[in-house]
Point group: C2
Chain length 277, copies 2
């Protein structure tokens, strides 16, 4: 999948919504626990209810791993389900991986070969040779951590470097933008960082940004949309808890759809304002 496919989907659905599948065994409706793979059953219903609204789904690996191999089975079933029913939808492994070259190569194989994810989130601390193995798959994407939405982003990401005088997160994004083109590399920028996103767009004008942190974490959809969009949209905004746990009953999927439609309606106005649709 390339950036044109993403833009086509955004225009068609009038949405740049990614739904985060932070599927928590202890939060999903109880009736699902009777199935062999409860996380998958939950996801399947969320996906069936929102696939005409969301352009991307983002399973958060931690939630599956907390159930071990059975959780991984739910993950595999989820990816297969999306790809067999909705091949146009962008599927992101929110895995924050990254290691020395030969190990990153194995992670890439796990997510792009064994499973059919379109993208994986990667942590930049170990540098170029920890990221580049993920960029060797045609049509697959690295989504590199840039500036995250949490308080801890101040500890290191927001430190200025002595030589370049740039913040670490700016250095990461600038350097990494040479490792991958705009059809294979995007960056995570938290929605809680909307004051910094305009400045960031000056050094990273063309790469897509994946923006988590709207809703539960407090980011404003309006601010990050108007500040972060470029002429080809260039942003994917993730919402997880606000959508998938909006209701705890057997109606959870219908309520998730309603929540998604609300967000889409707002997104649609920004897309129009920016003349993207």
């Amino acid at each position: 999948m390339n950036s044109r496919h993403l833009l086509n989907q955004i225009r068609q659905k009038e949405s740049y919504l990614c739904i985060g599948l932070d599927t928590d065994f202890f939060k999903i409706p109880k009736f699902l626990l009777e199935f062999e793979y409860p996380l998958f059953e939950f996801n399947k219903r969320i996906i069936a209810a929102t696939s005409d609204i969301a352009i991307a789904y983002k399973p958060n690996l931690a939630f599956y791993e907390s159930l071990g191999s059975a959780g991984w089975m739910s993950l595999e079933l989820t990816v297969n389900y999306i790809k067999s029913h909705h091949p146009e939808i962008f599927v992101i492994a929110d895995a924050k991986r990254g290691d020395i070259g030969n190990t990153s190569k194995m992670y890439a194989s796990a997510f792009f070969n064994h499973m059919d994810f379109d993208a994986i989130t990667v942590a930049p601390y170990m540098g170029s040779d920890s990221v580049i193995p993920f960029l060797q798959y045609d049509g697959k994407w690295v989504i590199l951590l840039g500036l995250t939405s949490n308080d801890g982003s101040q500890d290191f990401q927001m430190q200025k470097l002595a030589t370049s005088k740039r913040f670490l997160y700016e250095e990461v994004m600038l350097k990494a933008s040479e490792w991958g083109n705009t059809d294979q590399l995007m960056f995570v920028v938290g929605a809680t960082q909307s004051d910094r996103i305009k400045k960031l767009r000056k050094i990273i004008p063309n790469h897509f940004l994946l923006i988590p942190g709207v809703g539960a974490q407090g980011g404003s959809l309006k601010d990050i949309s108007l500040g972060g969009m470029n002429a080809e949209c260039g942003i994917i905004v993730n919402s997880s808890r606000n959508i998938i746990y909006a209701d705890g009953t057997e109606n959870f999927d219908k309520v998730a759809r309603d929540k998604s439609l609300e967000i889409k309606a707002e997104m649609s106005t920004y897309l129009k304002k920016k003349k993207i649709i």
Copy 2:
């Protein structure tokens, strides 16, 4: 497990060897492929042959994940096998995880609750609130990336910060040393960085260091041992490929034992030189 347990084991075995279980489906002897969980069968034989020499085992998650849920099953079986046969041995999930608080909490649950790892490697880029959830388990450890062994360590870790004038990796280790004490936090420092390890010991004198990169990656065991040890040893040195793939036949476990004994013999001389045994 605390640092005293680790030191006891080091003295008893005259070794600070960690064996990295980078168990690669395509590299293990062919006769193992007939089993349901080949990676586990390989590990079981390596462990049985080396458990009196190694003080720690370190499964590298990428290798298991490349086989998906079946690989995770091998991982779970491996941890259970070690913990039921050799509860004194330190078991490290080389997973390089780290995410926002609620997600790190789920990762911690995966590795410390669902599985019985003693420690997990964590990436520091997202800062304090991405690391602290892993430090909430009594007797469990975070092994935070400090200065890694790969070329990419130069991209960001070796950049100087404007305010503190420290390298990023020094800042990471100094700041993080306030988040966890010497019974719950250690740092990854690559063996290829032996020239920097002495200076590092001045700012991090007491925390254990996990040192990968001896052997296949070119680090010298002598240099990092004499430069990195403190009065309580304070280092765990990992070797993976040099041991587990030293032989590709049905004899692989015996040859792995011989290789481990060679390394132990060398380690023993450094322990004596430093008057730890």
